[in-house]
C-alpha cells in the first residue's frame, strides 16, 4: 500500500506548471487534492512516472461570479466552494451536491475541479456539471505560447475515469451558468452511509414560468451514460407545476436509464432506485423552482 517511485515537480507559477506538463506529456500526472489520485497510487492502480503538484501555483483558488457565469479555480477545495455564499447565491445546486461528497476531512483537501476531471461515474460533480451545461477551462503551452479552450460538459466526459483533457493540459477552472429565474434544482441520492459514493443518485433541474413547467431535465449518478441528460420535460409535456405525474416519470426514467450491477447493488435494485429517486428529485426541484418564482414575485 505504498506508491511506486515517482518524480515530483512543484511549479510555482502557471506558465511553469504548463511547461512541465508539456515536457512530461504522457508521463506526467497533475496532483491537486490527491483525494482520488493518492489512493490509486497507494493501491498501485496507477503508477505515473511523474507528478506535477499544482498546490503552489498562485491564482488558482478563486471563486468569481461574473456575467451570468460562476467560475471556480483548480485549487478551490470542496469545503471552500460549499461555504461560499456568493457561489450559493449564484448556483445553489453546487452546495447541495458538495454536501454529499465524501466527508468533511476529505472535502478539506479535495478540489471540485479535480472531482470533475477525475470523471468518476459515481461522483456527484460530473452529473451536476452535465445537467447545468457547464464547461472545463483547459490551458496548455507549446513553444512558449499559451492556449486556452473551453470544453463543454457534453464533450468532456468520455466514460468512466476518462475525459477529453489532454495530458499536457491543466484544467485551470470550471464554469457553470448562474441559476436562471424560476430555476429549481435538487440532488437526491442513496448511499450505504452518508458521505459514501452513492449506489444511485439523481440530479434534477426544473424551470417554471408563472405556474407552468417550462423544462425538466435529469442526470444520473452511478447509473445511465456519463455526459447524457434525460429530457423528462418532453415526457410530461406542457403542464402546471403542480400537475407533474411523479409516478409516471419514475417509471419512464426506469425504462430509459440503463443500470449495471456491482458489489454495492444489483442492476435490478439500481433500476428500482432510479425510479424512486427520480420522483423524489423532480418533486424537490419543482418545489424549489416554484419557491424561486414566488420569491421573485414578492
Amino acid at each position: 500500500m505504498k506508491p511506486s517511485p515517482l518524480r515530483y515537480f512543484r511549479p510555482t507559477s502557471l506558465p511553469d506548471a504548463l511547461d512541465v506538463l508539456a515536457r512530461l506529456g504522457d508521463e506526467g500526472k497533475v496532483l491537486a487534492g490527491g483525494q482520488s489520485l493518492i489512493p490509486l497510487l497507494s493501491m498501485r492502480l496507477a503508477a505515473p512516472p511523474a507528478l506535477v503538484d499544482i498546490n503552489s501555483v498562485p491564482g488558482l483558488d478563486e471563486i468569481t461570479v461574473d456575467a451570468g457565469t460562476l467560475r471556480f479555480g483548480a485549487l478551490v477545495r470542496h469545503t471552500d466552494l460549499e461555504r461560499s455564499d456568493a457561489a450559493f447565491a449564484a448556483q445553489p445546486l453546487l452546495r447541495r451536491a458538495l454536501l454529499n461528497v465524501a466527508h468533511l476531512t476529505i472535502r478539506n483537501r479535495g478540489t471540485t475541479v479535480g472531482s470533475v476531471v477525475h470523471s468518476d461515474p459515481s461522483a456527484e460533480l460530473p452529473a451536476v456539471l452535465t445537467l447545468l451545461g457547464g464547461s472545463v477551462v483547459a490551458q496548455s503551452r507549446a513553444g512558449g505560447r499559451q492556449t486556452e479552450r473551453k470544453i463543454p460538459a457534453s464533450e468532456f466526459f468520455i466514460g468512466p475515469l476518462e475525459s477529453a483533457l489532454r495530458p499536457e493540459e491543466l484544467a485551470v477552472a470550471v464554469e457553470v451558468p448562474v441559476a436562471a429565474p424560476g430555476e429549481g434544482t435538487a440532488l437526491v441520492e442513496l448511499a450505504r452511509r452518508h458521505g459514501d459514493y452513492a449506489m444511485c443518485g439523481v440530479v434534477a433541474r426544473a424551470v417554471v414560468e408563472g405556474e407552468q413547467l417550462k423544462s425538466l431535465h435529469a442526470t444520473y449518478i452511478s447509473a445511465g451514460d456519463m455526459g447524457s441528460v434525460v429530457d423528462l420535460g418532453a415526457e410530461v409535456g406542457a403542464v402546471g407545476a403542480d400537475q407533474v405525474d411523479l409516478d409516471a416519470l419514475g417509471a419512464f426514467a426506469r425504462k430509459v436509464v440503463e443500470t449495471d450491477g456491482d458489489i454495492h447493488a444489483t442492476a435490478e435494485y439500481r433500476s428500482h432506485l432510479v425510479q424512486v429517486l427520480t420522483a423524489r428529485a423532480v418533486r424537490a426541484a419543482v418545489d424549489d423552482a416554484v419557491n424561486d418564482v414566488r420569491k421573485e414575485a414578492s
Binding site: 518524480r7 497507494s42 483537501r109
Partner: protein, 180 residues
C-alpha cells in the same frame, strides 16, 4: 536518539528536502516523493501518535490538522506539505501535559476501548470545535461521520464531542461530571 532503520532501499530515488512545522517546531526531513505524510510522521519523525488503518482515506485514523483543517495524512504526500503547519495528536496536549478538551472528554465519556481510532477522532474533533464551539447532537454525529471505530459503537464518542465542547467553553468547570 534511536537509530533510523531503513526498510526500503531508497538510494536510487531522488530525495526531497521538506521543511514542515509540526506541533510548533520546524522540522527538516529528506524523503522520496512517494512518502506519504502518515509515514513521514511515524517513520521519519518518530511521531507514532498518528495511526494508520486503511491507508486509502476511509477510516480516519491518520487524521492530522493541516493549516487549521483536518485532513487525511495517508492521502497527502510529505513533499506537498513543505512550508506548512501540522498538528498531530501529540501536539494537542498542553506544555505541562494537560489534556486537550477533546482528549479529556474521551476519558470522561469512555470514548475509547482499544484506542486505535482515537488519535483520528481527537484531531478531527479538536479542529471541528474551533469552527463550531456549540454543536448539537446532530452536529456531533456529522462531525465524526468520516471516522471509523470498530469497538465503541460511537455513542460514547458522540457524547465526547458534546463534552469536549462543554469543557472548551467552560474551562475546567464541571470536570468529571460526566464520568460514570
Amino acid at each position: 536518539m534511536t537509530e533510523q532503520v531503513n526498510l526500503v532501499d531508497e538510494s536510487a530515488e531522488e530525495l526531497h528536502d521538506v521543511r514542515v512545522n509540526v506541533n510548533g517546531t520546524w522540522r527538516e526531513i529528506r524523503v522520496p516523493a512517494r512518502r506519504l505524510l502518515s509515514d513521514a510522521l511515524r517513520h521519519d519523525m518518530r511521531l507514532t501518535g498518528t495511526h494508520v488503518g486503511c491507508e486509502h482515506g476511509v477510516c480516519g485514523a491518520c487524521t492530522v490538522i493541516l493549516d487549521g483543517r483536518p485532513v487525511r495524512s495517508c492521502l497527502t504526500l510529505a513533499v506537498s506539505v513543505h512550508g506548512h503547519e501540522i498538528t498531530t495528536v501529540e501536539g494537542l496536549t498542553g506544555p505541562n501535559g494537560e489534556l486537550h478538551p477533546a482528549q479529556q472528554a474521551f476519558a470522561d465519556c469512555h470514548g475509547l476501548q482499544c484506542g486505535f481510532c482515537t488519535p483520528g477522532f481527537v484531531t478531527t474533533i479538536a479542529a471541528y470545535l474551533e469552527e463550531n464551539p456549540d454543536p448539537s447532537e446532530e452536529d456531533a454525529t456529522e462531525a465524526i461521520s468520516g471516522n471509523l471505530c470498530r469497538c465503541t459503537g460511537y455513542q460514547n464518542i458522540k457524547k465526547a464531542v458534546l463534552r469536549a465542547a462543554e469543557l472548551k467553553r467552560g474551562g475546567a468547570e464541571g470536570q468529571g461530571e460526566a464520568r460514570q
